[in-house]
């Protein structure tokens, strides 16, 4: 627990508002991956309907 608190404390020191901007950039990448998943599922289901038709 003590060690964990030390890690937390160290992390807090390097995590300022600027780091939140870095996190937002990572979040944009996550968002594109998730959006691609959604589009793929949509296309797959319509395509499966076309092929089954």
């Amino acid at each position: 627990m003590q060690m964990n608190t030390a890690i937390d404390s160290a992390l807090r020191k390097v995590t300022d508002t600027h780091d939140f901007q870095q996190r937002r950039l990572r979040a944009v990448r996550t968002a594109w991956i998730l959006a691609a998943m959604a589009v793929l599922i949509f296309v797959a289901f319509v395509l499966s309907g076309v092929l089954a038709d």
């Binding site: 508002t17 979040a27 944009v28 996550t30 968002a31 599922i41 289901f45 309907g49």
Partner: protein, 545 residues
């Protein structure tokens, strides 16, 4: 106010007066990128939709008050049942949970805002247009959709030109939901404060993370299904048209592949809210935190492999029926874990019964009744009797009304003082609870008997032997509907009239980062990451790796 903490030590270091809050009304609400403002927009929108959908329910119950046709034409009655469901599912419950997610997730994980604030604005402002489009079909020559919210072909394809508006509005709702979910996942995975490990996250955040994955997986499936309906209706394709070589049963499979996870999309965040409230008012940590997380994930996984229990009567191989029956029954295991853990949390706790706790306990008891009737419906051989009767209506209303809706009310009463900085009238909130809890049972419990006696759903008229239970049900419905006006009154009074200021930590037993902020919280929640330790987070010591 018994549990208001008079010795509040809320950390208010983040409150400054340079919060860049837009001054103008349009700038503040139309162009907002702030998670709290967008959360408020979602909640106001969903409350409006709740009242519109509720009015439709009143029309339905008024028509069913007595046998015979009383008030509306049968076709309009069918439009009411269809629209009531679409409005309540997509306009009231789902946006309400997104509103909660917007308000609470950044505050619970120690982030300043959602990860993608502009998309957040867009995902909300699509919704009013989608629902204006959907509701406008009621005023069109061909009327609104009348085939039930499941939009089964061939019935749904027999509608008029307004069907295109319905499909487009469903597309828009889906896009909104997907964008909201992407935002939630991106926020939770990337914006947590240092030290806020996954297994330290509040249960509400966990349930929303899993819900968001469900949404991304199934909303495109619904979009695909309604797109195929659209082309069948207007462009001469035959995906579901038997005359052209298509298969209407395929639509049912695709729809319920979306539809069953959709049920869990509406209930998993409710599990999260209840898992926040019960420990607070039991003054004990949540029993079996990790088990709750794994149970939520298990329910989400199982929700993908049970869809055909909605369509046992279409005829399928015996092995198929057995698979879907047993898979459905399996869901009772993780759900039972949850109910057990909530009860165990209350066990030997120093319980008090403020309005959020009353609604949470109401949720646990009444949702379990809905779960039990769900188990009855899961039995394939018995479902042949129950299918398309009022027993099904009673079942899913028990899950959704004293389930999802009670949890929404519990969450509202729990966090409203945090959101507004003012305390609401607990007396009126308790009156709201007791009226709702009694009337919701008067409304829905008799419907079990109606279904067992053979009354079919989605009909405006019925045989006289069903008259008594329908009359009782309708009276319960009117009281339940009217008692929701108290809910609106309590909120409006709290926002505009209440003079009783709320502390940062509104409830003495509450734990979590949101309670370390002032009430109301600063415009940007956490500009610097908060400390994550056992005094600020409920499970910091248990899962420190």
């Amino acid at each position: 106010m018994s549990s208001k903490n008079m010795h509040d030590h809320a950390v208010d270091a983040h409150e400054d007066h340079h919060d860049h809050k837009p001054a103008g009304f349009l700038d503040r609400w139309l162009f907002t990128t702030n998670h709290k403002d967008i959360g408020t927009l979602y909640l106001v929108f969903s409350l409006t939709m709740f009242l519109i959908g509720g009015l439709m329910a009143m029309v339905i119950r008024a028509e069913l008050f007595m046998p015979g046709l009383q008030l509306v034409e049968p076709d309009f009655f069918n439009q009411m049942t269809t629209m009531h469901a679409l409005v309540m599912v997509f306009g009231a419950v789902m946006p309400a949970w997104v509103g909660f997610a917007n308000w609470m997730i950044p505050m619970m994980i120690g982030a300043p805002d959602m990860a993608l604030p502009r998309m957040n604005n867009w995902s909300f402002w699509i919704l009013p247009f989608a629902f204006v489009m959907l509701l406008s079909t009621l005023f069109m020559e061909s009327g609104g959709p009348a085939a039930g919210w499941t939009l089964y072909p061939p019935l749904s394809l027999q509608g008029g030109q307004s069907f295109a508006f319905v499909v487009f509005s469903v597309h828009m709702m889906g896009i909104s939901s997907i964008m909201g979910s992407i935002n939630v996942i991106s926020t939770i995975l990337n914006m947590r404060a240092p030290g806020m490990t996954l297994l330290r996250m509040p249960l509400f955040v966990w349930t929303w993370l899993i819900t968001a994955f469900l949404l991304i997986a199934v909303m495109p499936v619904l979009a695909g299904a309604v797109t195929m309906l659209l082309t069948d209706h207007f462009f001469g394709t035959s995906f579901f048209n038997a005359a052209g070589g298509g298969d209407p049963i395929m639509f049912q499979h695709i729809f319920w592949f979306f539809g069953h996870p959709e049920v869990y999309i509406m209930i998993l965040p409710a599990f999260g809210v209840v898992s926040e409230i019960i420990p607070t008012f039991s003054r004990k940590p949540l029993f079996g935190y990790a088990a709750m997380v794994y149970a939520t994930a298990s329910i989400a996984f199982l929700s993908f492999i049970v869809w055909a229990h909605h369509m046992f009567t279409v005829g399928m191989p015996l092995t198929g029926e057995l698979f879907f029956m047993y898979a459905t029954m399996l869901i009772a295991v993780p759900t039972g874990v949850k109910v057990f853990n909530w009860v165990s949390t209350m066990w030997h706790g120093s319980m008090t019964f403020e309005p959020p706790m009353l609604f949470a306990i109401g949720f646990v008891v009444l949702f379990t009744i809905g779960g039990m009737s769900g188990l009855m419906l899961a039995i394939a051989s018995v479902d042949l009797q129950y299918h398309d009767t009022y027993f099904v209506v009673a079942h899913f209303h028990y899950v959704l009304v004293p389930g999802s809706v009670f949890a929404l009310m519990a969450g509202t009463y729990y966090w409203l003082p945090k959101w507004t900085g003012r305390m609401y009238s607990e007396r009126w909130a308790k009156i709201h609870f007791w009226l709702s809890a009694v009337s919701v049972n008067v409304l829905f419990f008799p419907q079990h008997y109606l279904g067992l006696a053979g009354m079919p759903r989605r009909i405006p008229d019925y045989s006289v032997q069903f008259a008594d239970f329908n009359m009782i049900s309708s009276m319960g419905g009117f009281v339940f509907g009217l008692s929701q006006l108290i809910f609106v009154g309590v909120i409006v009074h709290c926002v505009y009239k209440s003079r009783q200021a709320a502390d940062g930590r509104v409830w003495e037993g509450a734990k979590g980062l949101e309670w370390t902020l002032s009430s109301p919280p600063p415009y940007h929640s956490f500009n610097t990451p908060p400390a994550i330790n056992s005094s600020t987070v409920a499970h910091a010591d248990e899962y420190s790796h």
